[in-house]
């Protein structure tokens, strides 16, 4: 028998991704690795992700989280990822420091809702939405490391496709992921 045939097929690394209070820009940037996606799918398979439309995360090796935490659903999803992923990675400015959604943090959420739905210009018979289906907004937007333990951070708004590729290939090859100049950027 050929020696190669005896080698068991190496199981693929299972990856889940999600966007919380983000804009999916980091996911778009992830797709910017372009034809290297084909190389990547040789090594990984996707669990819950906007790419697969799987709704809940199963046991995974790597979880990529885009976006900060702005409502109760974000907290549930983040905890689900932490529970299921061996390695959890914050990707992009919003996941790391709250980013653009956190610009609302200096405003009172109650007064915002009142202004928009009750007292604002041209509002008639307004009411603040309270359908139980709707996740409740948090009083402030928080970076995800304030809610669960995060193993790695990929900064950027969004991080470039090259930065994401460098980071993931380092990690998959068993090296300590490292983004030097010029891949490490905050803007």
């Amino acid at each position: 028998m050929d020696a190669m045939d005896a080698v068991a097929v190496k199981p693929k690394v299972r990856v889940a991704t999600t966007s919380l209070a983000g804009c999916f820009g980091c996911h778009m940037s992830f797709l910017d690795i372009d034809e290297r996606l084909l190389e990547l799918v040789e090594l990984v398979e996707f669990d819950r992700s906007p790419l697969t439309d799987i709704k809940h995360c199963g046991p995974c090796d790597i979880g990529l989280i885009e976006g900060g935490v702005c409502n109760s659903e974000n907290v549930h999803v983040l905890r689900e990822f932490r529970k299921n992923c061996k390695v959890l990675i914050a990707i992009g400015a919003c996941a790391i420091n709250g980013g653009l959604p956190a610009l609302r943090n200096s405003f009172d959420i109650g007064r915002c809702l009142q202004e928009v739905y009750l007292t604002g210009l041209n509002v008639e018979n307004g009411q603040v939405p309270n359908d139980p289906e709707l996740p409740l907004p948090l009083d402030q937007v928080h970076p995800i490391h304030e809610v669960v333990r995060i193993d790695y951070f990929i900064p950027g708004c969004p991080p470039s496709g090259d930065a994401i590729w460098k980071f993931l290939t380092d990690l998959l090859a068993g090296r300590t992921p490292r983004l030097g100049h010029p891949l490490l950027r905050f803007d």
């Binding site: 914050a90 400015a93 790391i96 420091n97 709250g98 980013g99 653009l100 956190a102 610009l103 943090n105 200096s106 402030q140 928080h142 970076p143 490391h145 304030e146 995060i150 790695y152 951070f153 990929i154 900064p155 708004c157 490292r178 983004l179 030097g180 100049h181 010029p182 490490l184 950027r185 905050f186 803007d187």
Partner: protein, 242 residues
Amino acid sequence: MTTGTMLIDGVPVSFEYGQTIMEAAMAAKIFIPHLCHHPEFTPQGSCKLCTVKASGRYVSACTMSAKDGMEVENNTPDLNDKRRTLLQMLFVEGNHFCPSCEKSGNCMLQALAYELEMLSPRFEQFFPNRPVDASHPDFLLDFNRCILCELCVRASRDVDGKNVFALAGRGIHKHLIVNARSGQLADTDFSLQDRAAHVCPVGVILEKRKGFAVPIGQRQYDETPIGQQMDELAARSAKAEE
């Protein structure tokens, strides 16, 4: 003039008596991270980014005089870890949201975070509420990004003779203020020609209508990391004298 020699990370560096470790290192093109230091102004040693280990003790390189035979540790994992922690504390204390900042790419705080490979804020964000002052026709003050380096305070007081800026409050409540009865920059004689208008290392004092004259990606620290810009850092005082 008497000179001496010290070792910085094992490299002999000569200096003139009276020079600080920072001045000698800059002359020798050795990079010591710093924020509140500027070759044009009297050093005050407040940001602590330039902390080095001199003969076994942690000292601020910008205020400590160089001494003959001194052994200085600078670029070591221990010191860079501490410096990174200082940066992380500065980042969470203000609202440093780089993607929305005009200074991104020209900002020393950001450049040092790149240099020291700061990947996360690590601590909990303070998310302080600090309204901006857009009253002045030519300048915007965004206090969200102030790191209390006092360069504008020193420049306005010592060079411009105007005393436009000051720090008020104590401890965690310390903040930058404008010396006017209204507290507004428009009610001062602050102008484009002031030295203080051009020393902010972060994005607090911003000239209006100039924000994106140079696009993101082509700015000072985009091309070359700050640690390799010793000539530019040392030339800041010469530029002012022109």
